[in-house]
């Protein structure tokens, strides 16, 4: 659970079955498998039978919940090697989904954010989605100079792989970009960098 002074950071929920839905889609990444296991445990057999699970085994902290997830009698379990593949898989599943569907997301902030962008593009409303953060609070950072997205940023100052500028990670989270903003760190005096610190992971 994150305690933070960052007001723009999304407020996360706890995954529990939304009984009003007739169909359920649950997508998770890495450590997000743990809240997913808890969600599936709380579901009735009927809810499980109408649930599609998408799981990416990519993890920053190295946790893998695939074998636990395989224990549940869900409608379908789709496994992906990477988070971007899982988000693509979610896009495919939502394209065919109907009204009455509920979406559950769990994992890193970057994974939840990019999945939420897909859900929003299908017109899903906040009251049809639950999101639970799991694992480290490493950040997804958008470079204000070249537009590159860096995943799993753990330090205040880092070199952008896109434009090789030294970036400082600002504490503003953009829901639209699903990322924090990174700006040139030594724009005042070239070469003079602010103190590096570990982000609130």
């Amino acid at each position: 659970m994150l305690i933070t002074g960052i007001k723009s950071r999304p407020v996360y929920d706890e995954l529990t079955p939304m009984a009003s839905g007739l169909n359920h889609i649950a997508a998770a990444q890495g450590s997000g498998g743990k809240p997913l296991v808890r969600l599936l445990t709380a579901m009735t057999p009927e809810q499980l039978a109408s649930t599609t699970v998408l799981y990416s085994t990519e993890s920053f902290t190295g946790h893998n919940f695939l074998s636990e997830l395989q224990q549940f009698a869900v409608r379908e379990l789709r496994v992906f090697p990477g988070n971007a593949d899982a988000v693509g898989g979610l896009d495919t599943v939502l394209a065919a989904a109907e009204m009455g569907t509920r979406l559950y997301l769990a994992g890193s902030e970057g994974f939840i954010g990019t999945s939420m962008q897909v859900a929003t593009s299908y017109g899903m409303h906040r009251d049809e989605v639950l999101r639970e953060h799991a694992g480290s609070f490493v950040r997804r950072v958008w470079c204000a100079h070249c537009g590159h997205y860096s995943e799993n940023v753990a330090h205040r100052v880092f070199v952008c792989p896109g434009c090789e500028l030294n970036l400082i990670v600002r504490d503003h989270y953009s829901g639209r970009l699903a990322a924090f903003q990174g700006v040139k760190a030594d724009s005042e005096v070239p070469g003079e960098l602010p103190a590096n610190e570990e982000l609130d992971t």
Partner: protein, 323 residues
């Protein structure tokens, strides 16, 4: 643009057409021929109808194009309900007459996030949908309409829409036999579909129950009941702190309308509790506020320090607002 005098527009009746045995359509324009205040699809107009010594305030949906504010159109169904407003509109109002009306307000706007708009209407409930479809069709949005009428002689407005939008409009009951089935209409819809229902209470309840049964969440179900158009409720009085004026709010008008009628102004945009523009500070309160807006947060409501005069009312012995 036409300026509202004490919150009321002066509208001249340009044309009256009987569109069904019970419904007349009125085309209204500004007395001085100027542009009327803009509105969005789903808005209604509160018309002040003189009935003997009294003035009735009836809300009617605007059915003309939101992109043409040279005139407004409303449809009035004659109901012999003892309130006599609609009867007076039918029997006493003539072409050329001048009517007073409020500024359009929207409590039934179309969703900005929908991927598909699904309208279900019955009888005179079709009126707000006219302007909503016009707005969506000009924006190029995806929509369809299902309209139930009581028989061929009640289908004229439906045929008009069918002419405009073709296959996107399905009529029921115009042939004396087809029936609208809400469950069939709502089933199997893609994500991001929004349903709008306007018609008799039975129809609204039916659509809401069917949608819930299919797992729709409330954010995608929109409806308008004619009886809750406008802010109505028990009368109360309000004191404007800056001028010290004490204003009585009658059961059939909103706090905003009462303040305007008394010759004062408050800021506003939507007049439907959605935009927050009219938010006003509450300086003193003995009693409770009946918050009816969609703007204030739960915590703002509890502290009772703010009120949205376009929709909210109060049950109080004293209410002083910073205006």
């Amino acid at each position: 643009m036409s300026e509202a005098q004490h919150g009321a527009l002066q509208l001249q009746v340009k044309r009256i057409e009987a569109v069904t045995p019970e419904i007349n359509r009125y085309t209204l324009c500004a007395v001085d021929g100027s542009w009327l205040p803009a509105f969005s699809g789903g808005s209604h107009l509160t018309v002040l109808i003189p009935v003997g010594e009294e003035t009735k305030r009836n809300a009617y949906s605007l059915m003309s194009s939101p992109y043409d504010t040279s005139e407004y159109q409303i449809a009035v169904r004659r109901v012999d309900d003892g309130k006599r407003g609609s009867v007076a509109m039918h029997s006493s109002v003539r072409e050329g007459d001048v009517l007073l009306a409020g500024i359009p307000a929207n409590l039934f706007p179309v969703s900005k996030h929908a991927r598909h708009h699904l309208f279900i209407a019955g009888g005179v409930g079709i009126t707000p949908v006219f302007a909503q479809l016009e707005e969506l069709s000009l924006k190029g949005s995806s929509f369809e309409l299902h309209l139930a009428v009581r028989g061929p002689e009640h289908a004229a407005l439906g045929y008009e829409l069918k002419d405009r939008y073709g296959d996107r409009v399905t009529l029921y009951g115009h042939d004396g036999q087809s029936r609208l089935n809400t469950l069939d209409i709502l089933a199997g819809r893609p994500l991001g579909t929004h349903a709008y229902v306007c018609g008799p209470t039975r129809m609204i309840d039916d659509v809401v129950a069917s949608a819930h049964g299919l797992g729709w969440s409330d954010s995608n179900i929109h409806f308008e009941r004619f009886d809750d158009l406008g802010s109505t409720g028990d009368p109360f009085s309000v004191t404007l702190a800056r001028s010290g004026a004490v204003i009585e709010v009658s059961p059939e008008q909103s706090l905003l309308e009462a303040v305007e009628e008394a010759g004062h102004t408050l800021p506003y945009l939507c007049r439907g509790g959605a935009c927050g523009e009219c938010e006003t500070e509450v300086l003193e309160l003995e009693g409770t506020i009946d918050h009816r807006d969609d703007w204030l947060s739960e915590s703002d409501r509890c502290t009772n320090k703010l009120i949205l005069p376009c929709v909210s009312r109060a049950t109080c012995t004293k209410l002083v607002i910073n205006a």
